[in-house]
Amino acid sequence: MQVDPRALRFSAAITTSVLALVLVTGNVWLLGAQALLFALGVAGVSPFRPVFQRLVKSPPKELEDAAPPRFAQAVGLVFTVVGIVGYVVQVTPLAVGATAVALFAAFLNAAFGFCLGCEMYLIIRRLTPAATR
């Protein structure tokens, strides 16, 4: 599947705002909503695509493979779930730390088009020596 990279960055910008708001308000429900958005992203569903398509009419210069961003959304999902656990059991460093890491990655994606989650893939694979194909 191919996707418009600008749509990815658009939704990364929304993710950035949501995660920043989570840090400011400490609202765990908002973080739950973001986790749901990440889960949808992993499933290949982007609820913001219609919004983006309404705002931007021009065709993309080129399309991008959908697999890397989907993997990155899964990484984002892991961090938000850890953050939710942190907020629920009230371990603030865990809650804030995990949310901040997710915010860091989302902002890099939105502002620079750099996919930190994608970069994790090879490093994770290198660290799992047993998992050879």
Binding site: E64, P68, C115, Y121, L122, R133
Partner: protein, 139 residues
């Protein structure tokens, strides 16, 4: 209040990281050393030089890198472009200390690594590194 500070600090750190990444992206570094054989890369070496690209399935800039290297290979005779799936060659990946994809190695005719870049390299930088590799092979 604390949360606001964490959010601002995170965004500031990400901005610095982003600019640093942009500067370093695809830069050809003089981190030469080991010699790779045709066995190592799973393909014949190029007659004058070889461009070895490490890729993975979840790599965003790998496709653009493939295109740049293919263009350069078509331009310069005696140069081969070899793409390696990093996941299927984890031993080699560890040995060479490859942390990111794409990582591009520029080898001279003998297989010595002359230059190395992580991230999408610029076409001009690849051509310059190739010039070096070809000269290396002659001397």
């Amino acid at each position: 209040m604390e949360g606001l500070l964490v959010a601002l600090a995170t965004l500031a750190a990400a901005t610095v990281f982003g600019f640093a990444w942009r500067l370093r992206q695809g830069r050809m570094a003089d981190r030469g050393g080991p010699v790779l054989t045709a066995d190592d890369i799973g393909a014949e070496l190029g007659e004058r030089a070889t461009l070895v690209q490490f890729s993975t399935a979840f790599c965003q800039p790998c496709r653009a890198t493939r295109r740049v290297l293919a263009e350069v290979t078509a331009m310069v005779p005696g140069v081969r472009h070899v793409e390696i799936d990093a996941e299927s060659r984890l031993e080699l990946v560890r040995e060479l200390g490859v942390l990111r994809t794409p990582t591009v190695l520029v080898l001279d005719a003998a297989g010595t690594i002359v230059r190395r870049a992580a991230g999408l390299p610029g076409k001009a930088d690849v051509i310059a590194a190739l010039g070096l590799a070809v000269r290396n092979g002659r001397s």
